[in-house]
Point group: C2
Chain length 224, copies 2
């Protein structure tokens, strides 16, 4: 067992405090001086604890205005260690394989569980994505947002954190595949959205499956 430093112990305490108070993204933490008092440790230990929670994306420090709860929900940067996988092509293929396993049932869950407000936001993202495509601009980021929001619509908290890690991974590592199939992609996104909006889980699942398979084929073609 590795020994915990004072900073790590204080970080654990501070995390407990954050949970007890029910702080959420954007909330401001007490000042360093207040934390010294509440945690009963020195200023350097408080700083070390804040540094640890910052590296875990639990808090974020804005110079001059204080410490806030991060909007990254404690999901680490590169949480699954992609940077340690040397074979980028294999990594991309493995990420696509996971998307094909995960995202179709997620889309079904989204069609089952999305609230009216969820559907409204998903529709807005789709419109922005489509207008990006109409202007023939790079739509990769809007596309990630679309898939991340579908994960959110599932109301599975872990999926909401996990899906962006996988889709962003594909975006980063399959960067070579140009987003040029505007019409086909547009159509398949719209099919997914409409199935979720109309509460048709089976159709949503199959539409997502078709969409991912189509992208996978494009990736394979480009790699040839």
């Amino acid at each position: 067992m590795e020994k915990q430093t004072l900073g790590e112990i204080a970080a654990q305490k501070l995390l407990g405090m954050i949970q007890d108070k029910g702080y959420t993204a954007g909330d401001k933490l007490p000042t360093e001086a207040e934390l010294v008092e509440r945690l009963g440790v020195g200023r350097n230990t408080v700083r070390e604890a804040l540094r640890i929670l910052m590296s875990r994306n639990i808090v974020t420090i804005r110079q001059g205005s204080g410490t806030f709860i991060s909007d990254k929900n404690g999901v680490a940067d590169d949480p699954l260690g992609f940077s340690m996988i040397e074979d980028r092509r294999k990594l991309t293929e493995d990420l696509i394989q996971i998307r094909v396993m995960l995202e179709p049932p997620i889309a079904a869950l989204a069609a089952q569980n999305a609230t009216a407000e969820d559907v409204r936001v998903l529709g807005d993202i789709l419109l922005e994505l489509e207008s990006c495509m109409e202007r023939h601009e790079d739509y990769a980021e809007k596309d990630s947002q679309f898939h991340a929001h579908i994960a959110g619509c599932s109301h599975n908290l872990v999926m909401t954190n996990l899906v962006p890690v996988i889709t962003d991974g594909v975006r980063v590592f399959a960067g070579s595949v140009r987003e040029t199939e505007y019409d086909k992609t547009r159509e398949s996104h719209r099919r997914i959205y409409e199935a979720i909006r109309d509460r048709r889980p089976v159709d949503a699942q199959q539409a997502m499956y078709f969409h991912l398979m189509f992208n996978d084929n494009r990736y394979r073609d480009e790699m040839k």
Copy 2:
């Protein structure tokens, strides 16, 4: 955009160096003095860089013997931010929901892709798991190892890193469910193993599905 500190820039450089040299788990890194020279930065910056890579579980520092590549493959502690999810019961249910989506197709992939050596190791883990059960000991850790190794047998690098995060999460948060159904659990593990060993992906998938559903039912019964 947040500004990168000198330590973060040096950490990035050091990570690049680790990748270029093809270092793997357990390999020793150059000394602090050598890193000062190679990275062209001061000693404090090297220390900060090492601290960052340590917090990401890329390296581990063993007091007195030096810095080594961590065997955690750069998978962060609590990578998906479970500690920020307040509702523990919902978290457990969501984790189980993900297992039910992910692990059956993973078992199928394992039956398709496992090497003879993979199968041999899986058989050894199963025997240890069974002897734990025969002695009516807590077999939770061996069980995690069994599921993690099946993920490894899939040869999908991301799954290998992801599955333990999910299964360990269930183990931690569903801690209240006692592992007492020795016979049933024993039988369902054996069915999974034999299907993987005999290269029957469809049977492996269904056996895993049965196993997880059985556990899910036990969890729901205990929560009533």
